[in-house]
């Protein structure tokens, strides 16, 4: 097992712990658990496709839209904004059309479709910043122990860097495979850091409230 693959499996820690705690956690965090498990399955699918077909463009393109849907649904459940809630259906439909449009008319399922990737990373960053802004006003406790805060910070870090990386790796910029590999290396370490942040978030997810008799 190479070091890059081992590091990318760092998501196993928060995903495993989240599954262990699943019965006891608030349903506001179910989509976050889904996000972690989709990430883990994507890493495994990646590995399988690279081994079997020599590239991972299919799981990569499918994962992009799937991850976007899961994260946006999570932010919708968190109720980050009235307008977001109101226009959610249209927003998701529009994003799906964008994904499909790039897939059919600009790129293909056998290419890394960067435009949608940059778009959805940007949207996740905006949603994370909106969630953080809301938490500043509404949260009355220590923010460093608030799972929503920690998750939003993790998403903000990961997707900001991902926008940066995706912009450099765009197919129109003809770069050597070695350069590509080096740039991608940055993202692996960011991924590891963010997985540790997610692990802290999972630890901080409070138990469901139980109402006991006297």
């Amino acid at each position: 097992m190479d070091i890059q693959f081992a590091l990318s499996l760092g998501v196993l820690l928060p995903a495993g712990l989240a599954l262990f705690k699943l019965k006891n956690i608030d349903n506001q965090y179910y989509w976050f658990v889904a996000f972690l498990w989709t990430g883990l399955l994507f890493e495994l699918a990646n590995r399988f496709f690279i081994w079997r077909f020599g590239n991972n463009t299919i799981p990569w393109n499918v994962y992009n839209i799937l991850e976007f849907l899961i994260l946006m649904q999570m932010f919708r459940i968190w109720n980050i904004g009235e307008k977001f809630r109101k226009w959610f259906g249209w927003f998701m439909a529009g994003s799906f059309v964008l994904w499909m449009g790039e897939l059919l008319f600009i790129g293909s399922i056998h290419r890394f479709n960067s435009y949608f990737a940059i778009y959805y990373c940007f949207m996740v960053v905006i949603a994370a910043v909106t969630a953080l802004n809301q938490l500043i006003v509404t949260e009355k406790r220590n923010m460093l122990r608030n799972p929503k805060f920690i998750i939003s910070i993790g998403l903000l870090i990961f997707f900001t860097f991902r926008i940066f990386v995706e912009s450099i790796l765009m197919p129109i910029l003809r770069i050597s495979p070695e350069f590509n590999q080096r740039i991608f290396g940055i993202q692996i370490y960011i991924n590891l850091l963010v997985n540790l942040i997610y692990l802290i978030a999972v630890i901080c997810i409070p138990k469901k409230r139980t109402f006991t008799n006297l």
């Binding site: 109720n79 009235e82 953080l132 938490l135 500043i136 006003v137 949260e139 009355k140 406790r141 923010m143 460093l144 910070i153 903000l156 870090i157 900001t160 860097f161 940066f164 450099i168 770069i175 050597s176 070695e178 350069f179 080096r182 740039i183 940055i186 409230r209 109402f211 008799n213 006297l214």
Partner: protein, 250 residues
Amino acid sequence: MHPEEKDIYKFVIIVAAVLSIIIAYFIISIIRQQRRTLKLNQEKIQAEISTMENERRRIASDLHDELGPLLSAVKLQISSLDTQDEQDRALIAKSGNHIDEIIRKLRDISNNLMPNTLIRKGLIAAIDEFIEGINQLQTQHLKISFEHQINQAIPKEKEIHLYRIIQEIIHNTLKHASASSLQIKLKTADNKLILFTEDNGIGFDYATRRRDNSGLGLYNLGSRAEIMGGELDITTEPAKGMRCLFEIPL
């Protein structure tokens, strides 16, 4: 890697480092800002509630200690009037009854503003008395049950907040919940005071109410929990009643 790409790679690393610094600064500033806002907010609420409670105490004491005896003296003076006229006697008796009624009302108002029982006998007795008063007055058929298991002393300044919270919950349930039962449970455990209330009323959409800022009562409950350094969890849905859980450190 081409030599040009090596230079670009260096540039990318520098940009990534700058980006990391910007994100770190953003996170730190958010945390600092939230702490500052929280502190200011707590101080503001504390000042507002303290002013309100002091004002209530002053008005209650003025009504009870100054107006009460004055009215009693007026009644005594009226009663001492000696007249043979039947109409005048009836008028004196009627005025005496009115003064009695005013004294009783004043006592009620004064008691509502700052319950004597709370000051003299403590929280449990005050809540019992309040519930008894409500049960006698109410025309709706709300059954209020109150259970308690207090093993630790509750600080006086927290007693008044808890009393106000229970008062607010009972009033809200009577006014808005259309409930037939309200359970109030109060206990101390692990250096914490836990107050749990549950009604079987019509409930409401909590997110909408908070978003619309339409629940002043809910805001008051949250504010009082906040200034005691505690936490409040409200669970409610339309047609599913309302549950409140307060956890207050002792």
